[in-house]
């Protein structure tokens, strides 16, 4: 029976060696213990002995001295008398199942909320993405970072300004004003020439000069007294009509829009209103406004005239029923009799809650207010 002569492993980790040459020749009779060939490893050169007997058959295409040989490689055969060299079978390495992955401990199946990776949650927070409704691409639908990035695709590359508490409060109130009420906006343009002239008289008199907003606050209170439903508040069991008229005035600050409240405007003279409003605006700009000073207004006035806006759609500040937007004063050609004359014109935008009042009463309020503004003097001394 044929015996193979192979490259043996010398030492622990030898994978290949150098064949240094045969010490026997093809056809020679070999006894156990005969030295067959020399093999060199990294460590040493070893003479390799035969463990079996037989006639040595060295294949003509076998390794030559100096060739690299790998451990296990067949170098020759030992054959019995008259035996032929067998065909060499290359044994296929068997694929072995491996047991190396530390099995993740399976958690009991519970109905979970949409899973999201910590990283995805962090990135969503940074980018201001709401993860509700997103579909996760991870295992079992887990939302991964890439899902968040995909949701912002196109808008990526910007920078994130983290929310301040003021911003979050404003956002919540504004969303409520649109989603919880039934807002309608009416606009009307009026002739503010007299109002401008009136204000100029204060200037000429070197008196404390009321701002246009102060004047409008005073006259709005007059109009509200005639149309109290415009400050009625929707409640589940009915409309609540406050007695007092407390008008909030929107003030733009670096931190965001703030709305200090002028209290009991209906009982105050113009001079008192001016004083109160100056004090409030100063406190607002200095960041010293308390929460109490912004609470419980019954009506809001917001003035964008100073920044060149004519008309807009203010958003209700619940539970108030209405908000008045004040535009800029523009000197325009107006028809007076048959003449074209220059007049100072101003547009008012009133948003009201249609749940509380209908369009006609709201329009009537606006009309009253317009009359007051066009002929201000009698109403201001009220």
């Amino acid at each position: 029976m044929a015996t193979t002569i192979i490259v043996p492993r010398l030492g622990w980790s030898m994978e290949e060696g150098t064949f240094a040459g045969w010490l026997k020749v093809d056809g020679e009779r070999i006894k156990p213990g005969d030295v067959l060939f020399v093999l060199e490893s990294d460590k040493s050169a070893e003479e390799i002995e035969s463990l079996d007997a037989g006639i040595l058959r060295i294949p003509p295409d076998g390794p030559q001295p100096g060739d690299k040989v790998t451990v296990g490689q067949v170098l020759a055969h030992l054959l019995a008398e008259g035996e032929a060299v067998p065909e060499i079978h290359v044994e296929k390495t068997v694929e072995v199942a491996s047991v190396v992955i530390a099995p993740p401990i399976t958690s009991p199946t519970v109905q979970r909320k949409q899973a999201i990776s910590p990283r995805a949650r962090r990135v969503a927070r940074e980018l201001g993405i709401d993860c509700n409704g997103l579909t996760g691409s991870g295992r079992n639908g887990r939302i991964r970072e890439r899902d968040i990035r995909a949701a912002t695709a196109g808008s990526s590359g910007g920078r994130l300004i983290p929310h301040t508490n003021i911003r979050r409060t404003i956002a919540a109130r504004m969303v409520a004003g649109v989603t919880q009420a039934a807002p309608v906006t009416l606009t009307t343009k009026f002739d503010a020439t007299n109002l401008v002239a009136l204000r100029n008289q204060f200037k000429a008199a070197d008196e404390i000069i009321p701002s246009f907003t102060d004047l409008i606050v005073k006259l709005t209170a007059v109009a509200l007294r005639q149309h109290p439903l415009l400050q009625a508040q929707w409640r589940d069991d009915g409309l609540f009509v406050p007695e007092r008229i407390d008008i909030a005035v929107a003030v733009d600050t670096e931190a965001g829009l703030l709305v200090p409240v002028l209290r009991a405007v209906n009982n105050q003279t113009l001079r008192q209103i001016v004083a109160q409003s100056r004090e409030l605006i100063e406190q607002t700009r200095a960041g010293r406004l308390s929460a109490d000073q912004m609470r419980d207004a019954t009506f809001t006035i917001t003035n964008l005239g100073g920044v060149g806006i004519d008309a807009f759609t203010p958003i209700l500040y619940l539970p108030q029923c209405a908000v008045l937007g004040v535009g800029r004063i523009v000197r325009e050609p107006a028809v007076q009799g048959d003449r074209i004359v220059p007049r100072d014109m101003l547009t008012l935008s009133l948003t009201f809650d249609h749940r509380v009042v209908d369009g006609a009463p709201a329009a009537q309020f606006l009309q009253t207010l317009r009359i007051c503004l066009e002929q201000p003097a009698p109403w201001l001394i009220a």
């Binding site: 980790s13 491996s98 992955i101 993740p104 995805a120």
Partner: protein, 706 residues
Amino acid sequence: MAISTRTERPLDLLTRLYRPMQVIRQCEEQLAKSHQRGLIHGACHTYVGQEAIAVGVCAHLRPDDAVFSTHRGHGHALAKGLPPRELIAELYGRATGCSRGRGGSMHLFAPEIGLMGTSGIVGACILQAAGAGYSFKLLKTERVAVAFFGDGAVNNGAFHEGLNLAGIWKLPVLFVCENNQFATEVPFSYSAGNPSVAARAAFYGLPGHEVDGNDVEAIYAIAGEAVRCARSGGGATLIECKTYRTRPHAEGMGDFTYRTREEVEEWKTRCPIRRLRERLLHENANGQPSSAALDAIDAEVARDISAAQQFAEKSPAPDPKTAATHVYEESPAPSPPTPLPRVQGRGGKGVPLSPVVGGGEPLTPLSPVLGGEGLGVRGRETREITYMKATHEALAEEMAGNPAIFVMGEGIGERGGNFKTTEGLFALYGPERLRDTPICERGFVGLACGAAMTGTRPVVDFMFADFILDSVGEILNQIAKMRYMSSGRIAMPILLRGCIGIGHSAATHHSGNYYPLYAQFPGLRVVVPSTPYDAKGLFKRALRCQDPVLFLEHRELLTTKGPVPEQDYEIDFGKAIIVREGRDVTVVALALMVRRTLEVCERLAARGISVEVIDPRTVSPLDGDTILRSVQKTGRLLIVDEAFAPFGLGAEVAAIVSDAGFDDLDAPIRRLHGAFTPTPYSPSLEHAVTPQVEDIERAIVDLLEE
């Protein structure tokens, strides 16, 4: 308390020995009282009744001779010259104690006066004294080492291994057995098949003497002969002192379950101090010393002990903020200048290193970013050498420059080491520095510990890390804790090296990966390099640092090649290397698993998957920062480790990242470890228990789908 050994009248000599015996006795009696008062927080083992032995032996010692002792070591400490107040303060747990409050009764250290420690582990002192003897011999001094131990130690392997090593290497050591007849409470008559300890010396080719342990004159005489023999190169001696402790094993313990009151009382009549006193008064032909003179000594000692007690009681407790100091060298010694850019802080720009693997074939189109250092040299100054050659170079270079380095191990002498670790060095440095050992791991590791404590730098070559386990008590209880126990005053410059890893059917006693075990213990550095470059740099660092280093070499890496510069360089511990940069997933891999992972990276790169591979290189300290930074980038982490999963590298890395990197994770952390089983022999079984390239690939792809 060194006592002159010049020729003097025998009676004068004995009078000199009286005082230190009295100091020990009165100090112990004070400690017994203090224990009752609750001033001693832990155990207190007194030496009452055995004073003659410590005093009779230490009378021959110089301050630079070394004493190693046991849990009953107060007497040895005092006899070697420790001021009583430092002993009492230590037992009171005060900052002024000889171990600065870190040791207590069983861990007394004063290396400044040659008190190299008492130990709570029986037998360790025998091996450490042999190690000190080895140092003294290698350093060509006349110093001697003494091990004091009880009868409880002589049936322990350390006794057999230590005495045999001292015998074959003729080490200058005294092995002093204080046979007080009980190992804690188990009688020696029960424990020993051969009732004579002294007779056992013959087994090791040593002289052995039995002496009355309560007769200081007899002890002094025999110890003197043994010390002279040791100093003059005659080697070690075993002395068995028959004695008795007349107080309980430890203060506060019951005493009469294992011996009788009558027996104790009978032994008290043989009190070594009383006996000495009676002898002095009986033989004082010229009236010297007088009874009054001895009373005066007693009174003076009493005053000293009282003052020491007051000092201790007034001393401050150690600052709790220092509780974890002295675990490692505080400020690493500056290493010699290296021409290579070395690890410099974080985020330093590294020059690209080429981790070349597998017989010189680069597996990666390399852009490894370094955890700090760069290997800026290729070409002319950098050759490709094997891992084995790299550590050999490091050892050879350091041995050439540092005569204190010696290597111990089986077959590392003339043979040059099983893995050629010391090839050619024997011819250069001879048998004292290339020391072949018998197969007794506990013995030569304990000996190496004692050597490292006394001025030499041992390299222990275990061949296979599996063999280390026989010595693990010496490593974890002594080597790892020595700096701490001695409050930073004893350095432990020792390198313990051995092969780890599964492959080539080495089977279970030649293939373990034990690094997670050692990484659990403070005081050790555990190094597991994967490339020749890292191996050499870390080996050099290990041979220059003052802490014990376990240097574990994966056997399957020994013949792999890689670039190593000609110039001297070292790599600091605790600096991971980013072997390959990637963006999709971080793989932390160690040793052979680094190579396997790099192979996978190539395959995955073709599929557009970009893997970042981090090799921590040392598992203690472990560089969490580099891993965290990588996960911050990739969001995914896989740990690939051949060692077992439970409480292992994967668990540790995962814990670090889920703690400090939680918000960076885009998927669960995965671990791929070797199967939790001893290593099988058959190739088909062996293949199945380690992470293969396919397993790693599958794990990465699976993780990307999470």
